[in-house]
Symmetry: C2
Subunit: 306 residues, 2 copies
Amino acid sequence: MSLLTVGTVAFDSIETPFGGVDKVVGGACTYISWAASYFTDEINLVSIVGEDFPSSELKQLEDRGVDLEGLEIKKNAKTFFWAGKYHDNMISRDTITTDLNVLDDFDPVLPEKYKRSDFVMLGNLTPTIQDQVLVQLNDTEGAFVALDTMNFWMDIAMEKLKEVISKVDVLIINDEEARQLSEEFSLVGAAKAIHKMGPEYLIIKKGEHGAMLFHSGDIFFAPALPLKEVKDPTGAGDTFAGGFMGYLAKTGDTSFDNMKRALIYGSTMASFCVQEFGLDNLKDLNDTKINERVKRFSDLVSFDIV
Amino acid sequence: MSLLTVGTVAFDSIETPFGGVDKVVGGACTYISWAASYFTDEINLVSIVGEDFPSSELKQLEDRGVDLEGLEIKKNAKTFFWAGKYHDNMISRDTITTDLNVLDDFDPVLPEKYKRSDFVMLGNLTPTIQDQVLVQLNDTEGAFVALDTMNFWMDIAMEKLKEVISKVDVLIINDEEARQLSEEFSLVGAAKAIHKMGPEYLIIKKGEHGAMLFHSGDIFFAPALPLKEVKDPTGAGDTFAGGFMGYLAKTGDTSFDNMKRALIYGSTMASFCVQEFGLDNLKDLNDTKINERVKRFSDLVSFDIV
């Protein structure tokens, strides 16, 4: 089934305790689309770049089945640029530079054929733009919509954010964001409060501590794969979301049991992402590598109580 | 099979964001023994208290099959006392008071029958005292020994600590301690370094983020149960260790597969512990409650990849 992916396509400069890269291709929508492309080739991408964005990168996305009719290439303008530096814990980070560039007046217009997408992944962006995409869909009720956001929008646009959240099926946020949004400290309490805001499903990402799926009193926990070396966490959350929604779009099954599997596939894709800088590892995967790693997740948590 | 439990028996005053208790019974050995008592009634306790320690509490332990011949009740002396206050995150805490009292010159002497214990749980204490217990065992090679410790001993007695660690089968520490001990940031890297120090098995406790078991390249992950309310984390790590070693002593099976189960039982016992202050919840359990909760752990992480 088709998956609409929305978010930034960007340049990133990244510094971690283990090295750095300068002005590589990144952005939420890029990570989401690359991860999802291993599960479905019906991806409809909505984003914006400047004339400086390399066409070879776009060609690679198209080769993986990503439709770029929804990608605006703005004349005489520059692509969104982010530079950041990770702390020693590889979780917290300082933003060094944010050049909005083309993002400054991004006004997404959905191509006609995108409006019937079965699954929608709204990557982290201003809630206003996320909503602009939602209202253009032909059948919001029929589409299965997931939304990623961050504490920044909770700080400056909580009202609008809550409006958009009320329209989606799955909210994907991290533990701190879940606490801020719900004003509850316990994640079980946070889930209860967030369900009341609209989303029937909630995914709380906890980075190296895994991810949790909440639905109507049920909880599923997917661990993160313990890795000897994490080089760059950038895009891990987007990659997780892309793998999750890509797997749902592939199977067309939004039962809780299938969402558990989707969570494991999302965690699997994220585990590949963090092992190299930028998109390096994500561009070099195949079904065999992915399924071998899914097996490792299964081994990691399997036990028999006799 | 028999389990030797070693550690403090104490009074605790605890303050958390959700309330507090004053001078309740606590101590590593107390939590360990209570938790283990749901799995085996062959528990040999080694500790020390003052004359102020209530005999009714000792009677309760004896009623659960805990042998107290190894408990020294020191005349004209006071029981070890600890007071602490937890921060809002319920993880970090400030120590308000530490009155060593009887612990100041604790010189454990093992009753003859204790020296043949099959399993040994050395709760957090000075490495010197932990070693004093080890050297009194008849058959250190034959006994299966687990050791808990903390960063405090790494700061002031690393050399002695490493000597004791080299003699044990399982080291049980938290993630920060594993990083400090190994000087490795990644837990996979830390495990590799710690295996080289002696312990064939390593358990890394991550509090609300679960626990990991490492053995010769294999990793098992046990989640923590997501709880709506955590009232008091005091003793959770000891309770975990008690459940873990109690289950091993009950089954007499130290295979990796059985240790996975033991980790789940340990996590189960810890989940009960944190729901009430002090030992309140731990004193009120039975097989039915425990097995129902183990089932919840199984449901939490089970998925089928089709």
